[in-house]
Subunit: 307 residues, 2 copies
């Protein structure tokens, strides 16, 4: 099945306690696309970059199974740029620079070859942009997954709720789930958010794992305890890409299969955080992924005989 | 197998966003003892209280299978008292009062009937007191589990390390593991702490679950996502009591069985946080526990066929 990803393709400059980078390849669309491409899913990305975006980065995406004809290049513009510095705990960071550049006027136009997609991943962008992509599809895809963030809750509440009402799966973090629902208990928050439209909710808790909800059930996957988290940038997007990539690959959107998709997403995210930017994902081999999924199984598996 | 628990038996006064209590039954020894007693383990508690401690609380412990002849009553003294107020997120709290009272001069003396215990649980107390209990046992028990906190890392480092070197299992929270080891990565922290003596380490992460380590393996158990956390007081001690209680009940201290013990401890803690003080544990029936353990199994169980 084919997957269309809408999301930023960008330059990141990252500082962590372990080192710093110059401008490297980043952006939600990049991580989502690479993660899905790594699972051999036919993945097509919609985004915008400036004339300063190196052709080698487009080649890199193509080489990893990501179609880039939907990435508009604006020769006279500059690519979206984000710079950040992580604190020692790696859980908090300061944004040092955000230059929207060509992203400021991003008005995504889906190539015709994208319009029959069966899976759609809406990376974190303004709700209006997310909606305009849905509106361009002549037939509703089998599954629409949407990522968003607290910023849009503060600045575009009505638009955000409208798009949330149009999607099948919403992925947000725990604080965002609390803000969106006004409930501290994640169980209560999930019930309210599912009442807003999505059949499924994924609550991402970073190093503390992820929860999957539908109306009746809840599933929890831990994050793998790692020797070292080197650079968390892109972990959430890699998770989302692995999640929807696994669903698109298997074509099965049952709750049971979404549990597997959560594990695949978590496993792929564990590669991203081990190196700067996309390096971890790029270096990942298929065998590596299976090994890591076995680690997940070992990590949580227990056997209690209840009389 | 018999279990001896050393820990505080106290009065707590608790405020949460849901209500407040007068002085009610609290203390680490109380929660640990009740949790183990609930599992029908022969449980004996060592502690100290003042003349103000109601006989009905001792009766309550006895009724729940906890032997209290090792609780010294000092008629002219007052019972240890703690008062605290939880913030809206229930993860942070302010201490409003700490009155050590009879605890200030606590010098535990094990009754002879306690000295053949096979399992020993050292609740959070000064390391000297924990050591003095170990020293009173003529034969080393099959398993010694020790709880402690950051306060002793700041004020009694050498004593603390000495006791840690004498126990089989250490239980601490994630921040304490980081402080004790000087490592941010919990994988690295666990390796260092196991190098200090204990064969097993349990890292408690509150609402984010718990990790069990030995030299080779790691196991993770989530906390049950609850509709409402009403009062977190005693959750960690209930967890510890369920953990060592299950081990004492089964007599099996293998890593595989410790995984089950972690699940039992987590399930019991989920009852504690649903009501004030010990009310949740008191109300718990055996069937309730099995039901909740099934919820744990459903929560984390997944099935991936890796080719």
């Amino acid at each position: 099945m084919s997957l269309v990803v809408v999301g930023t393709v960008a330059f990141d400059a990252i500082e962590t306690p372990f080192g710093k980078t110059d401008k490297i390849l980043g952006g939600a669309g990049t991580f989502i696309g690479l993660a899905a491409g790594k699972l051999n899913v036919e993945t097509k990305i919609v985004s915008v970059v400036g004339g300063d975006f190196p052709k080698e980065y487009l080649d890199l995406l193509n080489r990893n199974g990501v179609e880039t004809s939907g990435i508009r290049v604006i020769p006279e513009g500059k690519t979206f740029f984000w710079a950040g510095r992580y604190h020692n705990d790696m859980n908090t960071r300061d944004t040092l620079a955000t230059e929207l550049n060509v992203l400021a006027d991003f008005d995504p136009v889906l190539p015709d070859s994208y319009k029959d997609c069966t899976f759609l991943m809406l990376g974190n962008l303004t709700p209006q942009i997310q909606k305009s992509v849905i509106d361009q599809l002549p037939v509703k895809p089998k599954l629409i997954v949407m990522d968003t963030m607290n910023y849009w809750m503060n600045t575009a509440w009505d638009d955000l709720l409208e798009v949330i009402g149009m999607v099948d799966v919403l992925t947000i973090n725990d604080e965002e789930a609390r803000q969106l629902s006004g409930e501290y208990s994640l169980m209560k928050a999930a019930r309210k958010i599912i009442g807003m439209g999505p059949e499924f909710l994924v609550i991402k808790k970073g190093e503390h794992g992820a929860l999957l909800f539908n109306k009746e059930s809840v599933f929890f996957a831990p994050a793998l305890p790692l020797e070292e988290v080197f650079d968390p940038t892109g972990a959430g997007d890699t998770f989302a890409g692995g999640f929807i990539g696994y669903l698109a690959k298997t074509g099965d959107i049952s709750f049971e299969n979404m549990k597997r998709a959560i594990i695949f997403g978590s496993a792929m995210a564990s590669f991203t955080v081990e190196k700067f930017g996309t390096e971890g994902l790029q270096a990942m081999q298929n065998g590596d992924l299976s090994d890591r999924i076995r680690l997940f199984s070992d990590l949580v598996q227990f056997d209690i005989d209840l009389d």
